[in-house]
């Protein structure tokens, strides 16, 4: 659990750091002015910095335009994305109806937006006689998605971590071949799912596994194995073996080494792959749509069906609000985990 604590600490520090950003900016500005005034820094130099920063900010704005556009669309009146009067809808018409709809009418959180609350239920059957049930409203699509994603992450991680460790630290028959195989299949997966859709359906039907969130989660987890195993392996390669040796000499068992040394040191790599694995389960909709029945739809299927629900067009405000809320967790994770993701995808060394 020290991992959870560490993540919590990191999160707090990051948030604090982010919150203090305005102050730091102010302080920097003051310093800059002071430097120019005391002749320690030329005006030209300061201007260059300002120019570069503004240019970069402009670049970010341009790149983020589609997101911004869709965000304004989620606030606008009516149902269309395209405005024949201008790029953006009239700000006077902005409202939060779409979000209200999302919370209190759609199935996003709870069926028909009727919010329930969790309560412990006894004798729910199954292996464990105690479970959590919602009272006052049925859990909505979000819970289906969470079920899938949690299963995906657990499955994938349980397979990826030992696999990556073995590939990084051990020699065994077929190791190189397996690496090749994995890297080959890193990308074949996504398109493959369309290609093999019908075959998959046959497979799942044959075993009576359609319309099962757990099985779907495992399927996504399986698909995420090659790329993420490979990625984590390259990350582990950069962890000096001397840490492990130090632990072994200190009397740590294999399991201790894994838990106390390898996993904590892999944090950035784990963060990166967790996000990727999460996305594998979170965003996919073609297979989910084929395998699931409406009562088990995940958010991605729901958002897609919302997009196609009008006979000829999309109810854009609602669709936009839905999609934004749908993507927000991941986007925020990306935002806060940026440093981790960057070092998780950095293939250089790590300072010993």
């Amino acid at each position: 659990m020290s991992l959870a604590r560490a993540i919590g600490r990191k999160l707090r520090d990051d948030t604090l750091h982010a919150l203090l950003a305005p102050y730091r900016a102010y302080d920097r500005g003051r310093t800059a002015i002071w430097q120019v005034r005391t002749g320690r820094r030329s005006v030209l130099d300061l201007a260059k910095t300002l120019f570069a920063t503004c240019g970069a900010a402009a670049l970010v704005v341009v790149l983020m335009f589609p997101i911004y556009w869709i965000f304004t669309a989620s606030l606008s009146q009516g149902a269309s994305l395209i405005q024949s009067d201008g790029v953006f809808a009239d700000p006077a018409t902005y409202n939060l109806d779409a979000y209200r709809w999302l919370l209190f009418e759609s199935d996003f959180f709870f069926v028909d937006g009727e919010w329930g609350y969790p309560a412990i239920a006894y004798g729910t059957g199954g292996l464990i006689p105690i479970g959590i049930q919602f009272v006052g409203g049925e859990p909505g699509v979000l819970f289906n998605s969470l079920t899938v994603v949690i299963v995906t992450i657990i499955t994938a991680m349980a397979m990826i971590i030992p696999g990556a460790y073995a590939l990084s630290r051990r020699a065994f028959t077929g190791r190189t071949k397996l690496l090749y195989f994995y890297i080959l299949f890193t990308q074949v997966g996504s398109g493959l799912s369309i290609a093999t859709l019908i075959a998959l359906l046959a497979l799942f039907t044959n075993f009576g596994l359609t319309n099962n969130l757990i099985v779907l989660g495992i399927f996504y987890g399986a698909g995420a194995i090659p790329f993420n195993t490979w990625l984590l392996k390259t990350y582990m390669d950069n962890i000096p073996v001397s840490y492990e040796e130090a632990a072994i000499v200190d009397g740590a068992s294999r399991f201790d080494v894994m838990r106390e040394v390898i996993l904590p040191l892999c944090k950035p790599g784990l963060a990166a792959i967790t996000i990727f694995v999460w996305l594998a389960g979170w965003n996919e909709f073609i297979i989910a749509q084929t395998l699931l029945r409406p009562e088990n739809y995940t958010l991605s299927v729901e958002v897609y069906s919302l997009a196609t629900s009008g006979r000829f067009e999309t109810p854009w405000t609602e669709f936009a609000a839905f999609a934004i809320l749908f993507a927000l967790p991941v986007a925020l994770i990306y935002f806060f985990a940026q440093r981790y993701v960057e070092s998780g995808l950095s293939f250089g060394g790590m300072e010993g």
Binding site: I82, S84, D85, T147, G208, P294, E295, E302, Y304, P315
Partner: protein
């Protein structure tokens, strides 16, 4: 390889699966809400149990679920799937089970839509077609003839100022069909089993579209762009179906509805779709048959359902007694008038192959890449090839 377990085993939180009758739809929000209340009403009146589900991508879903016996018992869609679905053996011929006399209950067009090669595969409840909608703030009274309409369009058309003569998603054969049919042309004739792409009459209709409408429309023929133009009050006319009316009203447009204008030497005749409750092969050996049949009969014949559908959703009744009823609102009446001049979409599975090549051809023509005739000849060729490939 197919299991018989038809209900899946999800840890579902929606229906409790199993016993109840499965109903699928892809209705829009308002329509779905209304359906729910009807179903509730039906369940109360009878003892039946219906689980309605909104599915995404109905076509794909049916394609993959019906063959393995995991599909719905009953679903709703326009009638053009009757042919192809029956051809694959996914539908259930309900003619022997019905308790009503369909010949007397429904209008001829509706009945025609629901039957295919002597089988009845669904019960019709609404017709749908395009009409001429106009912005009352910009036009006082709707034009009777195309010439009048062109005059108004000419007046309003000023793209540099963001004003257009008409909003019309005219690359879509469904929307374009009114003019293709205007001079006696057609795309596919069910009865004669013939393609009409190469007919002079068809080409004439297409050329009319290109000459009289396209110049006054915004350059993007996609549905969304065209609707946006009218919706923002930037065009006096739009040619579209009843489903958009309430949206326009919400945006503050004072919408008027009229019959499509006439043209010298012909009459516009848009494709008409008929909404059906389809019966699927799932009914073959299940107890759901009774429920489904009863529900469909109830839904398509209950006055209250038909009228409130017409009232609230602008559905045009196809019940013989009500189709010309005085109780219908002006709007519905106006669309009903368009239905009356319209042409029922062919039911044949062959029609499925007609749409895409025709749309491509229209796009090429509108882009000025090709003249109408060669484009349509090419489309015909593609369609025939596709038929052949599918042994149709």
């Amino acid at each position: 390889i197919v299991s018989d377990d038809s209900t899946g085993n999800g840890n579902g939180n929606g229906s409790d699966g199993g016993s109840s009758t499965q109903l699928w739809h892809t209705l829009a929000e308002g329509e779905a809400d209304l359906l729910e209340t009807y179903i509730a009403q039906f369940e109360e009146e009878t003892d039946h149990d219906i689980a309605a589900e909104e599915v995404s991508e109905l076509n794909e879903q049916l394609n993959t679920s019906l063959p393995v016996g995991e599909g719905p018992d009953i679903f709703t869609h326009a009638h053009d799937w009757v042919g192809p679905f029956e051809d694959r053996g996914w539908l259930y011929d309900v003619s022997d089970d019905l308790t009503i006399d369909i010949d007397e209950t429904y209008t001829d067009t509706a009945l025609e839509a629901a039957t295919w090669q002597d089988g009845v595969y669904g019960l019709p409840y609404a017709a749908e077609t395009v009409g001429l909608l106009y912005n009352r703030d910009l036009v006082d009274s709707p034009p009777e003839t195309l010439d009048e309409m062109v005059e108004v369009m000419e007046d309003h058309h000023d793209p540099d100022d963001g004003q257009y003569g008409v909003a019309y998603p005219l690359a879509d054969p469904y929307f374009a069909s009114a003019w293709i049919h205007a001079f006696g042309g057609y795309l596919y004739d069910d009865e004669a089993d013939e393609l009409g792409h190469e007919l002079d009459e068809t080409i004439e209709g297409v050329e009319l579209l290109v000459d009289s409408f396209w110049p006054y429309a915004a350059a993007d023929p996609s549905y969304e762009s065209q609707i946006a133009v009218f919706n923002d009050g930037n065009a006096p006319f739009v040619i579209v179906g009843p489903w958009e009316v309430s949206g326009f009203r919400d945006s503050g447009i004072d919408v008027g509805i009229a019959r499509l204008p006439t043209v010298d030497g012909g009459d516009p005749s848009p494709y008409t779709g008929v909404q059906l409750w389809y019966f699927t092969q799932e009914l073959e050996d299940g107890e759901a048959l009774a429920t489904s049949r009863e529900f469909a009969e109830w839904y398509t014949t209950t006055d209250n359902v038909i009228l409130s559908n017409a009232d609230e959703l602008g559905y045009i009744p196809v019940h013989a007694d009500l189709s010309e009823s005085d109780e219908l609102s002006d709007e519905v009446a106006a669309f009903a008038e368009n239905v009356s001049i319209g042409e029922v979409m062919p039911t044949s599975p062959k029609m499925e192959r007609v749409w895409e090549p025709t749309r491509d051809a229209l796009e090429r023509i509108l882009n000025g890449e090709e003249e109408a005739r060669p484009a349509f000849e090419q489309a015909a060729e593609e369609i025939r090839a596709a038929w052949e490939e599918n042994d149709l």
